[in-house]
């Protein structure tokens, strides 16, 4: 676990789970930003100052940015969870940069979810072949139709990718899946995204979740569903050996 020493968007201390080696850094954690803060308004690029990392800088990759939009209908309201991918990179060994994409600034707050691998380029060494770890998915809630289940388990970190072909839910529905074969020492934040978004705001449906002890849980799907051209998916990197409680599920 690493703790930030500062940021330029008016947020308090930020804790991130980490795995670091000579060519990669895997960071996992959540940051909630008040979009009304003057520091956020002044920032061109969101910067988090960290203790010195093992890699001098990284190439550009992506993390998730999520927000909530409440829509009033005659007689009832619905809160949709929406989000997109934003660019992120390590500018140097102490500065984590995140693209400032202002599409949700009018919604009051945004949450950044880092479930991200940062990597260097330009190193000349042989590629070590990765291996897919076969997973068995046991649904603890209503069964969904999944495909493209990809899992890589490495020393210190892991990767998970799942697409959901058939997927319907009501507001308040959750999904919980026991991932047989997934390392049980992973305790990390993730996003389920890619479903349809009819709020009028940019982005896709994006629900917050977590994987702990081999069980993946998304407590509120926010009415997410698959529709033509929209297929929900999970794409996550996480450090292994994390035991601390993340703060994603307690934040919007």
């Amino acid at each position: 676990m690493i703790h930030s020493t500062g940021n330029n968007f008016g947020c308090g201390p930020i804790a991130l789970q980490d795995f670091q080696s000579g060519s990669i850094a895997v960071l996992n954690g959540t940051v909630t930003i008040d979009t009304a803060s003057p520091e956020y308004a002044a920032a061109q690029v969101l910067e988090i100052t960290l203790p010195e990392l093992s890699i001098p800088r990284s190439c550009v990759t992506s993390c998730w940015m999520r927000s909530l939009k409440t829509v009033e209908y005659p007689g009832y309201t619905r809160t949709y969870s929406i989000g997109t991918a934003v660019r992120t990179w390590l500018r140097d060994s102490r500065t984590l940069c995140i693209e400032r994409l202002p599409i949700y600034d009018d919604l009051g707050s945004v949450t950044l979810i880092l479930s991200t691998m940062y990597a260097v380029r330009g190193v000349r060494r042989p590629v070590l072949p990765g291996a897919n770890t076969d997973l068995t998915l046991e649904y603890l809630t209503e069964e969904l139709d999944h495909r493209n289940v990809v899992c890589a388990v490495e020393e210190g970190w892991c990767f998970l990718h799942i697409c959901f072909d058939e997927f319907t839910s009501e507001f308040g529905d959750s999904v919980s899946i026991r991932l047989g074969g997934f390392p049980e020492d992973v305790s990390a934040d993730l996003c389920l995204t890619g479903g349809s978004n009819n709020t009028g705001h940019p982005g896709s449906a994006m629900a917050a979740g977590r994987v702990e002890g081999g069980v993946l849980t998304v407590p509120d799907l926010g009415g997410m569903s698959k529709s033509t051209g929209w297929t929900p998916f999970i794409f996550m990197f996480a450090p292994r050996g994390g035991t601390q409680q993340g703060n994603l599920l307690s934040n919007p």
Binding site: S23, A119, G122, V123, R125, G130, G229, W230
Partner: protein, 354 residues
């Protein structure tokens, strides 16, 4: 040549037509007068115009700005002439700094940079100068704003031991790509030929700060063109695939993919434009002669502003296909609009596609 009567004395001395005769150290010397051919190559013309343009800008500076350039000139390390260090003026410093900036395609500056700024010499780990490639690796720019300036000249004869003053600018300001400077194409373009095996080349390297136009001290290299690096190493290419030189591109505007060695991690920077078949885009390259990277990976992307920033996931496949080296992308999850950007580190699995 014929000796004209007017200079036909016991010792020739004087000029007739294009011929000059003189006695030097007791020996008769005849020389043909050098004439200005008034031939100007396009690059010479550009260089002269550049210097003239910059010089003409100097009188328009304020007195304060000129004083700052004078102060800089007093501290700049100009080369000595005939063993004596000449005094240089503010306009010399102004032209020197701004011509470097102009050559690198950077905006000119009216204010003199701080002469106290230190620019370190170039450090690198290895260099290959062969007919196939001119590549420097392991460059460590001291700051983000530093650009590499590389000059080079072939030796005119095998016995030449110094020709650094004849070097021409191969690159006036290259930003190293993760420590690499691939100068192969620039050398071929500037010198007109690729390096010849066994030929000696004189090279200089220095950093130029793009923010100030100041350059550091040159390091000088006298290198023989050969297959191995100057440290005796064989060239090992990066595990990288780009769309540069693609034989065909369908649905891809540009791509730069690299696998991080020592792991199963892939980084992709790909701009997609459209789908050619159901969810599939691709580009193909000539099949490499040597070993090449094959496998498949998983990355995320998002549509652009027009596409509403919708999230996506793709698989990337690198393989031999119909006698070419093919890079294919298959849309897997999220929005299926393929006008998108992939900027993602993902996972990579090797495969021989048997």
């Amino acid at each position: 040549m014929k000796a004209l009567p007017s200079i036909a004395f016991s010792a020739f001395s004087g000029t007739a037509g294009d011929v000059t005769a003189k006695v030097s150290k007791g020996r008769q010397v005849l020389s043909v007068r050098a004439t200005q051919p008034h031939v100007c190559t396009p690059s010479q013309a550009a260089a002269r115009n550049r210097l003239a343009d910059i010089s003409r800008a100097y009188p328009h500076l304020t007195q304060e700005q000129m004083r700052a350039w004078e102060e800089l000139a007093a501290h700049l390390d100009f080369p000595a002439v005939l063993g004596q260090k000449a005094g240089y003026s503010g306009i010399n410093a102004f032209v020197c700094v701004n011509s470097s900036l102009r050559m690198a395609g950077l905006p000119l500056r009216s204010d003199a940079p701080d002469w106290r700024e230190h620019i370190p010499t170039v450090l690198f780990s290895d260099m290959w100068l062969s007919p196939d490639r001119v590549v420097i690796t392991g460059l460590q720019p001291p700051r983000e704003t530093m650009l590499l300036v590389f000059r080079m000249s072939p030796a005119q004869s095998p016995g030449t031991v110094s020709a650094w003053e004849r070097t021409v600018v191969v690159t006036p300001g290259m930003r190293p790509d993760w420590g690499d400077a691939d100068l192969t194409a620039s050398c071929a373009s500037v010198l007109g030929v690729t390096p010849r095996p066994g030929q000696r080349y004189f090279c200089t390297l220095c950093w130029m700060d793009a923010a100030t136009g100041l350059t550091g001290r040159d390091i000088r290299l006298s290198l023989l063109c050969r297959t191995e690096s100057i440290a005796g190493n064989t060239y090992v290419p990066r595990n990288r695939v780009t769309s540069e030189g693609a034989l065909s591109m369908a649905g891809v505007a540009g791509a730069d993919i690299e696998v991080t060695p020592g792991s199963s991690v892939l980084n992709a920077d790909i701009t997609l434009t459209e789908s050619t078949r159901d969810g599939i885009v691709m580009f193909s390259l000539p099949l490499p002669q040597d070993d090449f990277l094959t496998g498949y990976g998983y990355v995320v992307g998002r549509t652009g502003a027009a596409g509403g920033y919708r999230t996506q996931t793709y698989s990337v496949s690198l393989r031999e296909y119909l006698g070419e080296y093919a890079v294919m992308l298959f849309h897997l999850g999220g929005c299926d609009d393929l006008d998108a950007d992939i900027l993602s580190t993902g996972i990579f699995f090797k495969s021989d596609f048997d």
